[in-house]
Amino acid sequence: MIDNIPPGLIMILGALILPFLAQRTQAIAVLVLSLLSLFLFCLTGETSFGQMELFGATLEVVRIDATSRIFGIVFHIAAIVSAIYALHVRDTRQHVSGIVYAGAAIGACCAGDLLTLFVYWELTALSSVFLIWASDNERSYRAGMRYLIIQVTSGVLLLSGAILRFVETGSLEFTKMAVQGEPLSASAWLILFAFGIKCAFPLLHNWLQDSYPKATVTGSVFLSAFTTKLAVYSLIRGFAGFEPLIWVGCMMTLFPIVFAVIENDLRRVLAYSLNNQLGFMVVGIGIGSELAINGTIAHAFCHIIYKSLLFMSMGAVLYRVGTVKATELGGLHKSMPWTTTFCIIGAAAISGFPLLSGFISKSMIISAAAEEHQFITWFILLIASAGVMEHSGIKIPFFAFFAHDSGKRVKEAPTNMLVAMGIASFFCIGLGIAYPLLYRLLPNDVDYHPYTVTHVVTQLQLLLFAALAFVFLMKTGLYPSEQRATNLDTDWIYRRALPKAVVLCRAVIGTIDRFLRQGVMAMLRQITSCARTGFNEQGLLGRTWSTGTMTFWSTLLLAVCLVLYYLRS
C-alpha cells in the first residue's frame, strides 16, 4: 500500500493543508513533507502501477525506471534544500506553490504516459508562476504573465502532440519518439517543440532569463531546479539519439556565455549560465550513446545542486543588500564570508574543477562527443567550458564579493540559508570525490574514470589559463566594465517589436478603412443626389406628363413594333 502512492503526490496534497497551519509552521511542514516524500520514494523500487482506462486509452500514472529514479532523487534533494533555504519565509503563497511545484515535477518524471505527463507539466507551470508573482511588483507581475503564457503554450503543444500520437499509434505510452534513420512524425514534432520551449532551446529560451531573475529570493532557487531539468528528462526519454539536438545543444552552450559577459544583474547571469548548462545536456541527448546519456543524467544531477547553490548565494546577497546588480556590489566577502565561501564552491563546481561535482559529470559528455569522433561538437564544448569559467566561475563571485569595495556592510545571511548552502556545498564536494556513488545510479553500465592524469591536467590547464586571461584583461583594462543597462534578447520581439507592429498595423488599416469609407460615402451621396434630382417634381422621371405626350410615345412604340414585325417576316 505505502509504496503504491504516486511519487510527489504527498507533497501536492500536503500543500492543501498548509494554508490552515500557522505561518511559523508552514515552512517546517514543507520541509517535513519533502523529507517524508523522499523516504517513501526510496522505499519504492523500479516499478509501474496505476494503470487505468480513459476514453479507450491506457494510462500508466507511475512508471519508475533507473532514469526516473535518479531524477526523482535529485528533485527531492533540491526540494529539501530549497525548503531549508526558505525556512525564514512567512508567506503562504510561496510555501504552497513551492511544494506543489516540486511535487508536480517529481510526479512528472515518474509518469508513464503522455496524458499524465501533460497534467503534471501544466501543474508545474501553474504553481511556479506564483513564485515570480510573489515579488509583488509590477515588473514581476508582467514577467509572470509572460512566463505563464509561454509555459501553458508548451503544455498545449504537448497535449496536441499526445492526442495526435494516440490517433497515429493508438497508444499514449511515453516512449522513445525519435527512431534512428526515420523522419519524425507530426506528433513527435509537436512534442519536441513542447519540450524545447521548457528546455529553453535557442530562440525559445528567453522566458528563462526574463522570469527567473524577477522571482523572489527563495523562489528562484526552486525555479532553477525543476522546470528545465524536467524538460531534459523528457528529452532523454523521448528523443535520445536524435541528431539535430547536438547542434541545438551546441548553440545553447555558446550564445548565453556572450550575453552573460555583459549582463549586470547577477541572477540574470545565472539564468544565462543555466541555459548554457542545459546546452551540454542537450548535446549529450543528441549524441545518445550510453556514455552520453549517462553523462547527461549525471550532469543534470550535479547541475541541479550547484546551480541552486549559486542561486542561493545570490539570493542571500539580494536578501541582505537588496540588489544583485554587479555595479552596486563588491567587497561583500568582508561582511558575508560564509556566503562567499559557498558561492566559490558552487562556482568552482560549475566550472568543473577536479574534486568537485561538475568535473565528474560534464567530462562524460565531452568524452562522449570525442568518442563518437564529433570534432566540431567537442571543440564547441571546450569553448563553452572556458565560457562557463568566465561567467559563473569568475564573474559571479568576483563582482559580488570582491572587485572594488562598494562600501556596503551587511549582516551574514540567516542561519537557515547558510545551512541550505552548506548542504549543497557538501553535495558539490561529495559528488566530486565519491563519484562512484552517483555513477552506480546511472541507467547504463559504462566503465568511465574521470580522474586520469590527462584529464585532470588538461582540465586544470583550460580553467587556470582562462583565469589568467581574466587577470590579463583586467590588468590591461580590456575587460568590459559593468554597466547599468538592459540587454535586449529575443523577448524584445514580443515586448517591443510585436506591440509596435500591432500599433503600426492598426494605423495602416485605419487609414485604408477611412479612405474606403470616405469613397463609398461620396459615391452613395452622388447616387442619392442624382435620384433626388431625377425623381423630384421637376425631375425627368418625377414630373407629371400630359396625356398627349403619353399617347405620342405609345403610338411611336406601336409603330416601332410594327416596323420590326414587318422586317422580321
Binding site: I257, T323, A386, K411, T454, L488
Partner: protein, 98 residues
C-alpha cells in the same frame, strides 16, 4: 532588472576604506597573481611528463599545452564578442518601463 525590495534594510553604507581585508592588500593581490602564473607554467610543463593514452583528435590533443592556450584564447574571444554584442543590444536600464 531586479526590483525586489531590500528585505532586511540592514545594508550600511561606508566609504569602503575602513579595514582592507587580506584580499584587498595590493601585496597579496600580486602574490595571488604570481602564484597563478607559476601554477600555469607548471601545468604546461606537466605536459612533458605524461602521454595521453587515447587521444581522439591527436592533431590537437598532442600539441603541448593545447588546452592551456585554447582556454586563454577562448576566454579572450568570448569577452570580446561580449563587448561587440553590447553595441547592438545594450539599452538604458528603464528601456522596457518607458
Amino acid at each position: 532588472m531586479n526590483d525586489s525590495p531590500p528585505n532586511s534594510g540592514e545594508a550600511v553604507q561606508t566609504n569602503g576604506h575602513d579595514d582592507p581585508s587580506w584580499f584587498e592588500k595590493p601585496g597579496n593581490i600580486n602574490k595571488m597573481i604570481v602564484s597563478l602564473v607559476v601554477v600555469c607554467v607548471l601545468l604546461v610543463l606537466a605536459d612533458f611528463f605524461y602521454t595521453n593514452p587515447h587521444p581522439h583528435f591527436p592533431a590537437w590533443e598532442n600539441v603541448i599545452g593545447f588546452q592551456a592556450w585554447f582556454g586563454f584564447i577562448a576566454f579572450v574571444v568570448v569577452v570580446f564578442l561580449g563587448r561587440l554584442l553590447r553595441i547592438f543590444v545594450s539599452r538604458p536600464e528603464d528601456y522596457y518601463d518607458r
